[in-house]
Structures are given as C-alpha cells and as structure tokens.
C-alpha cells in the first residue's frame, strides 16, 4: 500500500514557511496532534502549525505571521509542565523552543550566563560545573525541562528553599511580544531603572510573550554540605520537626519529606536504605561554610531526636547520593503500584503541615483512592500524589473530587493554589477560591499591558470571566481535555 501525506492546505502554513524553512514548520495532522498535550493529565488539545525557530528573528516572524492570520500563539519548551500550560487550545500556532538550546555566553566573574530558552536546565548546570558554579533551581524534571519553561512557570525544586525559585535567578529576559517586538526586560548586570518588568514576566506561563534569551544568575557550589535522613514514627512528628527547624532560625538548602507509602515503594524500587518501619522520613541538607553547616546539622539532629526521630547522617558523598537517589526515584517507584498518577501542588504555612497532611489522608480515604506524599516540606509545598488506573470506570471523577478537596483544605489554612507547577488549565477555575474578582481583574490588566489582544497562550490561568468576553469562545476548554 502507499502512504499518503495528511496535510491540509493552509495559507498560514505557507506564510510561516516564508519565515522558517519548510521542515521547521510541521503541519501534518499527526505532527500537530502529538503536540496536543504536555506532562499534565490534559489530553485532547488542538495544535495548529508547529514551528521550530532557531533565532529571535525567526520567533518574531512566527508571531507576525500568526497575528496576520488572527491566530493565537502558544510557546512550548520541553512540554513537561504539569498544569497544562503548553496544551494548545483551538489550533494556535505552537512555537517550540527546543532547537534554541545554546549557551550564548558565560561570565564566570560576574556569575552570569545568557542562554537560549530551549536549553535544558541540567545541561546548563553541567556546562558551568567546571567553574564551580551551578544554576540553583533544580526541578525534579531538570534533566528534561527547558530554562524557558522554568521562566514560564517560575519553577522551583528541592534546593530552592534557601536561595529562592527561578525568579530570583533571572536577571533579564529577552522577550518577543505579540506585537512582534523584541524587548529585554530587566538588566543582565542586575539593575535597571523603572518597574520590575522582568519580575512581572517570570511565571507568566507563556501569556505575555515568548522568551528568546535569558540572563541567569549562577550560584557558587557550597564548600561544605551535610545531609541528614531523619526517620519518624508518625507523620505529625516529622511535620513538627520541619516546623521546629524553620522556627529555630535555620534555613537549610533543602528539606524534603516522604511518607510511609512512598518509602515502601522507593525501597522496593531502588533500595536507598530508607527505614521501611518509619511513618515518614525527612531529608535535610544544610550547605555553606563548614562552621555553620556543622552547627546547623547538629541542631537539626537534636530537634529531630527531641521529637522521637532517628537520625542518620550521610558519612560521605556516596551515602549522600544514595539518599538523594531514593528521593529522586520517587516517580519511578509509583509506577510500580498504579499506572497513572495525578500530582498535586499546593502550599501551606509551614506551621500547618501536620494538620493539612492529616486532612489529605482523610480526603483520599473518603474518595477511595491511594495517596503518596513526597514533597518540599521546607517551604510548605505539598505534593500529594493520587494514584489510580485511568481505565477504572468512574475513577477520574473521584480523582478530581479529591483534588478539589485538597486544594480547599490548603486554602482554608492560609495556603495557596500552586507552589511551582503553575495554574495553566489545571487550576484556572480554582482561581476564584483564592482571589476576588478585583484581584483577578488586576492580574488580567498586567497581562493585557503586555499582550493587549490576548493572543499569547489564551485560555490559561485566568478564569474566563476575568478577561475580555470575546475570548470566551476561544478559551473554552474543549471536550475531552480532561483526560
């Protein structure tokens, strides 16, 4: 048999191919349909032509062509977002940055690098490692996700507790606005007069423009590091220890917590030496100069022991690596239990951790689901993982109901909707739970100052009521998106 090409004739595609070589504008139906999702659970997005520019000028060309045809533009990095931020709605032009993956320059003395947005987070840290530097934000997806995506979601990671999330590490960003203009927001040296446009842009989930270059701050590797594995007989004791460490005035580099279910799964999977009789473990890493590190590690151990914790200190780099391996294998371990998971992301005040975790267990039980908790406890960033098999009839309803209840419980104690994954499609309709109409309206104004016609990634973050009525039609989540 012969195999046909399935490409619709489309003047937009012709226009885009005047800007980019034909093979960097993909328009076959299959090539578009596989761009219909990211790493979130939303399926069924509809992509228009998919463009792979390699320069700022090419991105401008794509944006101009899309504008001439009245089509929206969705920027996409590696597509590992968990909130559906890069899921295309209503056949927009999808601009993928994966081919813009170069390290443009490194200034070791100034601890500054200019990177293209498609550069992979871990590739940057590897490239600068010979200089004793690294890029501090280390999302668990760091070997895949792009720095442009990190800027888009203001990504965090285990080691963002002391040094802050992506925003604190971005000095400037070159952005192509929907008008087609390219503009540098912020200043690579660190100080620019005027409003902090840079700060307003970071975390905008592709709704204010397309990042085409980023000036990132590089962090020196700490001279001393100590890693402790604390085991507890109850989740409460673990959570209270986390609060006690913070209350004691210690800001460790990382505080991660894992509950019994995930400890078991991880031990079966990689055997990191975690105590399987514990109800929860807490990994605390302190880094810096040796005096402070030792003092803080001692104090953390003391605080844990006072709360009935068993303390294991990593004796060397190998043991330290093993502990982190246990933490980082968590995702793999889950797949051994159920094929699908829904990873939630809310933040609660660190003093309320124990209380909210207990509520999470109750909620999950009520909805007859399984949960595992592995999360950034140091900044109160909960990540309850709901496990399910999507082929089980009716299970999605329960997963969504439990998710809503977890969000409500987090907000009720003064928490927030998302700590690092963003709002995207996933939490768009939860925004009114956290913000008043006036609050949302203000966010819409910020967005419109950058993108007056709302052509950048429409339909995300802001519930439709809060933006122009005429985009409602466009931003309606299509059937089947809730996979």
């Amino acid at each position: 048999m012969r195999f046909r090409r399935t490409t619709k004739a489309d003047p937009l595609v012709d226009d885009l191919r005047r800007v980019l070589p034909a093979d960097r504008v993909r328009a076959a139906s299959l090539e578009r349909s596989i761009m219909g999702r990211d790493a979130s659970i939303f399926e069924g997005g509809q992509a228009g032509p998919v463009c792979f520019p390699i320069s700022t000028e090419e991105v401008q060309g794509c944006v101009d062509a899309a504008r001439r045809h009245g089509r929206a533009v969705v920027p996409r990095g590696a597509g590992t977002g968990l909130a559906g931020g890069s899921v295309p709605l209503d056949e927009p032009v999808v601009v993928v940055t994966t081919k813009m993956n170069r390290l443009l320059s490194v200034d070791v003395d100034q601890r500054l690098a200019w990177v293209q947005p498609g550069m992979i987070n871990l590739d940057l840290s590897r490239a600068i490692a010979p200089h004793g530097l690294h890029f501090a934000p280390d999302p668990s997806s760091q070997q895949v996700c792009s720095l442009g995506g990190n800027v888009g979601t203001n990504a965090g990671g285990p080691h963002c507790l002391a040094h802050g999330v992506t925003s604190a590490h971005v000095q400037a960003a070159e952005v192509v606005l929907m008008s087609g203009e390219a503009v540098v927001l912020g200043d690579p040296d660190g100080w620019a007069p005027g409003l902090d446009l840079r700060g307003a842009y970071v975390g905008s989930e592709g709704m204010m423009g397309i990042t085409t270059a980023i000036a990132v701050r590089l962090t020196p590797n700490p001279p001393a590091v100590q890693t402790l594995l604390l085991a507890f007989d109850s989740v409460d004791a673990a959570a209270h220890t986390v609060s006690a460490v913070i209350a004691d005035g210690i800001v460790p580099a990382a505080i991660e917590m894992m509950d019994k279910n995930i400890i078991w799964a991880v031990e079966n999977f990689v055997g990191a030496g975690f105590p399987t009789d514990a109800a929860a473990v807490v990994i605390v890493e302190v880094d810096g100069l040796p005096g402070g590190v030792t003092a803080e590690a001692d104090r953390v151990a003391e605080l844990a022991e006072e709360r009935g914790g068993r303390v294991r200190r990593a004796a060397d780099d190998q043991e330290r690596a093993l502990i982190w391996k246990g933490r980082k294998s968590a995702f793999g371990a889950i797949a051994q239990i159920k094929p699908n998971y829904y990873l939630h992301d809310t933040v609660v005040p660190r003093t309320r951790l124990a209380e909210v975790m207990n509520q999470v267990y109750e909620i999950v039980e009520e909805h007859d689901l399984q949960v595992m908790n592995v999360f950034h406890a140091g900044d109160g960033n909960l990540h309850p993982l709901l496990l399910y098999d999507r082929r089980e009839p009716g299970v999605m309803e329960r997963v969504h109901a439990a998710g809503s209840a977890i969000i409500e419980a987090s907000l009720a104690v003064g928490g927030v909707l998302s700590g690092e994954h963003g709002i995207g499609i996933e939490k768009r309709d939860f925004m009114p739970l956290m913000f008043s109409e006036a609050d949302l309206d203000a966010q819409g104004r910020l967005r419109r100052a950058f993108d007056p016609d709302e052509m950048a990634n429409p339909g995300k973050v802001l519930p439709t009521g809060a933006s122009c009525a005429d985009v409602n039609a466009l931003t309606k989540v299509p059937e089947g998106v809730w996979g």
Binding site: F3, R4, A78, G79, T80, A335, Y341
Partner: protein, 387 residues
C-alpha cells in the same frame, strides 16, 4: 476514513506512558532534532493516535517510526517502565505487513544463510575495491576478501558468531576466542544453523523470519554451557528469546546467554596480567545501546578493560551513536547528526582509542575516522605481546 488499524501493541503497554517526558533527553533522535515526533513520547502518542483513535497511517507516522534507532535508550530512563522496544517491534511488524514490496523483506533473508552471505560479502568486497560503491554513505566497513578459519577448542562455553559480523569481522571473533581461552575455557563454535540471531529482521518487523532464525539458533547451541556473545546487538536478542517465543526451552536458553564481558569480569582474576603493557592506552568505552539499555550489562566492559588500560567514561549518559543495525544505511542524515554528538563526547574524553562491544557501532564510528576496536581486541593485543 479507512477501518481502524490495530498496530498489535498490547493495550496495557500502550496505556502505560504518562507523558512525563523524562525519556526525551535520552533519545538520540530527539536530542538532535528537538522535535516531539522524533521522541519516545511523541512516538507513543502517534501509536495511540493510530491504534486507539483511528488515525491513518501516513507519511508523518512512518517517518516518526522509521527514524527510531530502536536503541531503547528511553527504557531505562522511563520511571513508568514503559516497554518501548516491544511496542516499536509490534509497530514495525505491522508496517512491514503493509509494505509488501520492501527490500528488507528479502534482503534480511540472506542473513540466515551463512554460505550465501559469505559469498555475497566477498562479492561486495570486490566491488568495494573496484570503487564501485559509496561505502561511507552506505555505512559499510572495508569487507575482507578472505577470512581466517575459527576452530573449536573445547566445550566449556559456546561462542556465538552470528551473521554479518562473522562475514565481515571474523578477526574480532578470533581475538575474543583467544581472550576467553586465556581465561581457561575451551570454546565451542556453533554450526551453520546458528547463522543469525534475527535481530535485524526483528527490528525491521519481520517477526516470522526472526522466529524461525531463533528456533534454528537454539537447536544449534544445545546443552547447558554458557553462551558467550561478543556482539551487543545479538546478545540482546538472544537474551530475549524467552520473552519472544514464550516457550520454557527459550526461557532456559536465554538464561544461558551472557555478554562475553559479563562472563570475563567474573573471572578477571584468572586472566593473565598485562604487566607494563597498555599503560599508555587511554580507552574511552562506548556503551552500545543493546548492552547498556537492553541488556543493562555495560559495566563489565569497563571493568575488564581497566585491567589492561586506562579507561575513561564518556559524559553523554550513554546516548546512542546512531549506528542501530541497518539504521545508518536507512537514515543516513540522522545517523550522522547523532554520531556528531558522540564524536564531541569522545573528543572531550581525551582518549586515544575507543572500545565498542558492538560491530554496528564499530563500523559507524570507524566511518567517521575514529580509532575504534572491540574491547577484547584491545585486551588481546596487550595479552598477545605479553605472552
């Protein structure tokens, strides 16, 4: 629209991908293109479009599938344990059924006939010397016109010799055999029945042909002696006979299969020492995909070599070199781009020679001017001079 096509992929397997994307950087074709259709996640999504959603098998689908090197670098990277290799094999089998006129259907049949293959190879060698062939572009090595004869020396272990490698690189088998013998084992050699493991046929979707080759091979390598394999690609398939054929005999057979380095690393204390020899050798170990990702047995190579030379690791997380069986010939442009990354990593390592335990990789890298040998050829030379 035409009737829905099943690709014959197990629905459980197809459902197991959660689209997390963690496999993307481990996929050579994604690394060089940055395009989703050339990534494991994209390929799985494409398979779902066809098998679950009734999308047509079109050009875009074909190029997504055919550009896959089948290196299976995506498998160990996947936290959800998605069995990508078997999904791709099923897809290729279905595509081959549809591509009745494909040359591979007939071409790979030759591999099972040792005499014919040797004859054709010699012919090819002559044509090559007459400069009638664009060898580099086709990814061909220099094919020998005459080959030394291997002789059995005992029955402690089998040495699997295979098809193309035996026809084109028999001197490698000879070196491997000498090293195994130096470790104190008598080597048995299979007859013409075990002429081919079936790997190339399997990857090209010729399942039936692969199955008949497997049955012949098993019959030939009888008994309970370990079956040593010096080609990573063959070893991977031989180890999966149990899974593919599903019979108790096949399972027992696969359990006897060892990559030769696995076997040696358990006996490295019995190998003669190299003395001063080999000290100025800095060897970069290239991990063939079928050793690292499929057999997950790449460590022993470096371990065995480290007794004889300075071993340096490549810093590219074991990304494929682009050889992939017949891939270099079928997708030359991608194969070369993928190789480019590997060459950069080799350059960074500071090595003066590269060791590769797979003939396909050796040929592909040598075509780019890299000094590359089978690991045991390197060992053999060091030992030889000593003895």
């Amino acid at each position: 629209m035409s009737a829905r096509v099943s690709l014959g992929i197990d629905p459980e397997e197809l459902a197991s991908c959660v689209a997390c994307g963690l496999c993307l950087p481990h996929c050579p074709t994604f690394r060089v293109t940055g395009e989703e259709w050339a990534s494991p996640r994209g390929r799985i999504s494409a398979m779902r479009q066809v098998q679950d959603q009734g999308a047509a098998i079109d050009q875009a689908f074909l190029s997504s599938m055919d550009t896959c090197v089948q290196c299976r670098g995506c498998e160990p990277a996947c936290p959800s344990g998605v069995p990508f290799g078997s999904m791709m094999e099923a897809t290729q089998a279905e595509l081959t059924r549809r591509r009745r006129l494909d040359w591979r259907r007939w071409g790979f049949r030759v591999l099972g006939h040792r005499r014919l293959l040797n004859l054709l190879s010699r012919l090819l060698g002559v044509v090559q010397r007459l400069r009638l062939l664009p060898s580099k572009r086709l990814g061909l090595p220099k094919i020998p016109l005459a080959q030394e004869r291997l002789r059995a020396t005992g029955s402690d272990v089998w040495l699997f010799t295979g098809c193309v490698m035996d026809a084109w690189q028999r001197s490698t088998h000879a070196a491997v055999k000498r090293v195994v013998e130096a470790a104190g084992a008598g080597v048995a050699l299979p007859g013409a029945g075990a002429a081919c493991c079936g790997a190339l046929s399997l990857h090209a979707g010729l399942e039936d042909h692969a199955r008949s080759l497997a049955i012949r091979t098993m019959r030939e390598l009888e008994g309970s002696a370990p079956i040593l394999v010096d080609s990573a690609g063959c070893g991977a398939v031989l180890k999966e006979y149990g899974k593919h054929l599903g019979t108790p005999e096949a399972v027992a057979f696969s359990e006897r299969v060892l990559d030769v380095h696995e076997w040696l690393s358990d006996r490295s204390d019995r190998l003669p020492s190299a003395g001063e020899r080999g000290q100025d050798l800095i060897v970069a170990v290239h991990d063939p995909c079928h050793l690292r990702h499929v057999q997950r047995a790449h460590q022993p190579v470096a371990e065995v070599l480290s007794h004889y030379a300075t071993v340096v690791a490549l810093d590219d997380d074991g990304l494929c070199c682009g050889a992939g069986g017949a891939y270099a010939a079928m997708q030359p442009d991608l194969a070369v781009s993928i190789r480019e990354r590997k060459l950069e990593a080799i350059g960074r390592s500071g090595a003066n020679i590269v060791a590769s335990a797979n003939p396909g990789c050796t040929i592909h890298l040598a075509n780019a001017g890299v000094a590359v040998r089978h690991p045991l050829e390197i060992v053999d030379e060091v030992l030889d001079h000593d003895g």
